[in-house]
C-alpha cells in the first residue's frame, strides 16, 4: 500500500474497496427509508465491473456516493475515489443545452488539458460533424455519445456509467457498446457500470456485482471468465441461466 492513492486504480490486481454500512432517505412522511444496508464490494483496478440488480434497489444512490455527490451515509469508501480523475456518464446525458457539443466536452477538461486536440475523440464517437451542434439538435443516441466523449476527454482513471444505454433501440445500443469497448481499449480505466440488463453486463464486464432488493447489499461478486467470442450467443446464455438459477428474482431475463 505504498503506492499513492491517485495511481492505484491503474495497477492491475489492486482493489478499490467500498463499504457502505447504511444509507437512508427521508420519505415524504418523514420516516427514514433504508436504501443501502451493509453494501460492500471491491472494484478490481483497470477492469470493467458491472453492478446489476432490481430497479429501484439503490444502484444510482451508490454511484452518487462514489462520485462524491452524497456524503450523507455511514461507512467508508476507498480514498482513491476522491483522489482520482473520475469521468461519469449519467442516465440522462446532462449536456448543457446552451452550449455546443464541443463546448460541453471542453468545459469538463481540467485546466492542465485545456485546449487539447479533440478531433480523434470526436471521430471515435462519430460526432466529428456535430461538434458545433447544440444538444437540442441531437438524437438521444448522439447525446449519449457526446456524454461519453465528455467522460473520456478528461482521460479518466475511474469511469462511472449509470445505465448509459437504456431507452435506445437494440441496434443503436449495440453500436454504442462497441464504441465504449474501443474507447476503453485505447484508454483503459477502472470502470463501474450500473445496468439492469444482464446480457449487456455479461457482454461487457470482467466482474459482476449482484445486488439485492432494497435495502441493497451485494449478494454475490462473480468474475465473467468468457472469451470475447463467447460473450454473446449460447455460452453467454448458459452463464446467465446459471446466475438466474442462483439468484431468482434478482437476475431478470
Amino acid at each position: 500500500m505504498d503506492v499513492p492513492v491517485s495511481q492505484r486504480m491503474n495497477i492491475e490486481g489492486e482493489l478499490l474497496s467500498v463499504d457502505i454500512a447504511a444509507k437512508a432517505f427521508a420519505a415524504a412522511s418523514g420516516e427514514p427509508v433504508a436504501v443501502l444496508k451493509d453494501l460492500s464490494f471491491k472494484l478490481p483496478a483497470g477492469r470493467f465491473t458491472c453492478m446489476i440488480g432490481p430497479s429501484g434497489c439503490g444502484k444510482t444512490t451508490t454511484l452518487g456516493i462514489l462520485l462524491g455527490l452524497d456524503s450523507d451515509y455511514a461507512g467508508a469508501i476507498d480514498p482513491a475515489f476522491a483522489a482520482s480523475r473520475i469521468g461519469a456518464v449519467f442516465q440522462e446525458p446532462r449536456l448543457l443545452p446552451w452550449r455546443t457539443v464541443e463546448d460541453n466536452v471542453r468545459l469538463a477538461l481540467p485546466d492542465a488539458m485545456a485546449g487539447r486536440d479533440l478531433a480523434h475523440l470526436f471521430d471515435q464517437v462519430g460526432l466529428a460533424e456535430f461538434r458545433n451542434a447544440l444538444p437540442a439538435e441531437l438524437s438521444l443516441g448522439m447525446a449519449r455519445r457526446a456524454a461519453l466523449a465528455r467522460a473520456f476527454a478528461i482521460e479518466p482513471e475511474i469511469l462511472v456509467l449509470d445505465e448509459p444505454f437504456v431507452s435506445l433501440d437494440e441496434a443503436t445500443a449495440n453500436r454504442l457498446r462497441d464504441r465504449l469497448v474501443s474507447l476503453l481499449a485505447e484508454r483503459p480505466a477502472t470502470v463501474l457500470m450500473v445496468t439492469h440488463n444482464i446480457r449487456e453486463a455479461v457482454r461487457l464486464a470482467d466482474h459482476l456485482l449482484i445486488l439485492s432488493d432494497r435495502p441493497a447489499h451485494c449478494v454475490e461478486a462473480v468474475d465473467v471468465d468468457l472469451a470475447p467470442a463467447a460473450r454473446t450467443g449460447e455460452p453467454a446464455e448458459a452463464f446467465i441461466r446459471e446466475l438466474e438459477n442462483r439468484h431468482p428474482g434478482l437476475v431478470l431475463l
Binding site: G64, L67, G68, L69, I86, G87, A88, F90, E92, R94, L96, P97, W98, R99, L107, A108, P110, L134, A136, E137, R150, I154
Partner: protein, 259 residues
C-alpha cells in the same frame, strides 16, 4: 412581446409598430382638439418646443443627467438583487435570514425610502441613486430567487463530478439557467427605476427630467411637460428595441425553435 409573429396576419413587425405609434399621435391630436391648447397642446407644437430645447442644449443636459442616474441605479439594483436572490434561492438559512428584510423593503413606500435617504445622507446624488436602487433591489431579489429555485440540480451534479471551478459553474451552469429571470427583472426594473428617478429628482435634485417637470408644473407649462415626457419615452422605447430585445434574442439562440 412577440415581434416575429408574421405570416398568419400578413402584418410585418415594422408596419404593426408604425400603426401603433401613429394611433397614439392621432389620439393625442383628438385630445388636444377637445381640451384646447392650454391643457393639452397638439403634437406639432410639442415637437417644435422639443426642437427648440434640444438646440439650446437644455433638454439633452437634463436628459443625460437623468439617464446617468437611471443607469447607475439599474446596475446597482441588478447586481445586488441578483446576488441576494441567488443566495436566498440556494440557501435555506439565507432565505430565512433575509426574507423579513425583503418583505419590509418590498412594502416600504418609495417616498419613505427617498425622504429618509435625503435626510440621512443629504441632498446628494449618492442618496438619490441609493434610494432608487433600494426600491428596486427587493423585486429583483424575489424574481431571481424563483429562478434559483427552479434551477436543475442535475447540471450542478455534473459540474461537481467534472470539478468545475466556482467561476466556471457560475458562468456556464448558473447564469444561463437564471437568464430568463434576469431578463424579466431587468425589463420590469428599467420601467420602475425611471419612474422613481423622476420622483427623486423632483424631491431633492437641482437638475434632471424630474426637476424640469416640477419646474414647468409650477408655471403650468403643459407643452414643456409633454416635451420632456416624449423625449424620455422615446429613449426608453429605443433602449427596449435596440438593446433589450436584441440581447434577449441572442441569449435564447440555443432554444430549439418550433419547426
Amino acid at each position: 412581446m412577440e415581434p416575429d409573429a408574421t405570416g398568419t396576419s400578413g402584418l410585418s413587425p415594422r408596419t404593426a409598430r408604425a400603426i401603433s405609434i401613429a394611433g397614439f399621435f392621432a389620439l393625442w391630436w383628438l385630445a388636444s382638439l377637445a381640451m384646447g391648447p392650454r391643457l393639452c397642446p397638439d403634437p406639432l407644437s410639442v415637437i417644435a418646443f422639443l426642437g427648440k430645447e434640444t438646440v439650446s442644449g437644455e433638454l439633452p443636459y437634463h436628459l443625460a443627467i437623468t439617464l446617468a442616474r437611471v443607469a447607475a441605479a439599474f446596475v446597482i439594483a441588478m447586481a445586488i438583487g441578483t446576488a441576494t436572490g441567488l443566495f436566498m434561492g440556494r440557501s435555506t438559512a439565507g432565505n430565512l435570514l433575509l426574507e423579513p428584510w425583503i418583505i419590509l423593503l418590498l412594502n416600504a413606500p418609495a417616498l419613505v425610502i427617498i425622504v429618509l435617504a435625503y435626510i440621512w445622507i443629504g441632498l446628494v446624488d449618492s442618496a438619490a441613486i441609493l434610494a432608487v436602487a433600494l426600491n428596486k433591489i427587493p423585486n429583483v431579489a424575489v424574481t431571481i430567487r424563483e429562478g434559483a429555485r427552479a434551477m436543475n440540480p442535475d447540471y450542478f451534479e455534473m459540474a461537481r463530478v467534472f470539478r468545475f471551478s466556482r467561476t466556471r459553474t457560475l458562468r456556464h451552469v448558473t447564469l444561463p439557467q437564471l437568464q430568463p429571470y434576469i431578463a424579466a427583472a431587468a425589463r420590469s426594473g428599467l420601467a420602475l427605476i425611471w419612474k422613481i428617478v423622476l420622483v427623486v429628482e423632483l424631491l431633492g435634485r437641482p437638475n434632471g427630467v424630474g426637476f424640469q417637470i416640477h419646474l414647468y408644473f409650477q408655471t403650468f407649462d403643459v407643452r414643456a411637460i409633454l416635451a420632456y415626457t416624449i423625449a424620455f419615452a422615446a429613449i426608453m422605447l429605443a433602449i427596449e428595441y435596440l438593446v433589450v430585445q436584441p440581447v434577449e434574442k441572442r441569449a435564447y439562440r440555443w432554444r430549439p425553435r418550433p419547426a
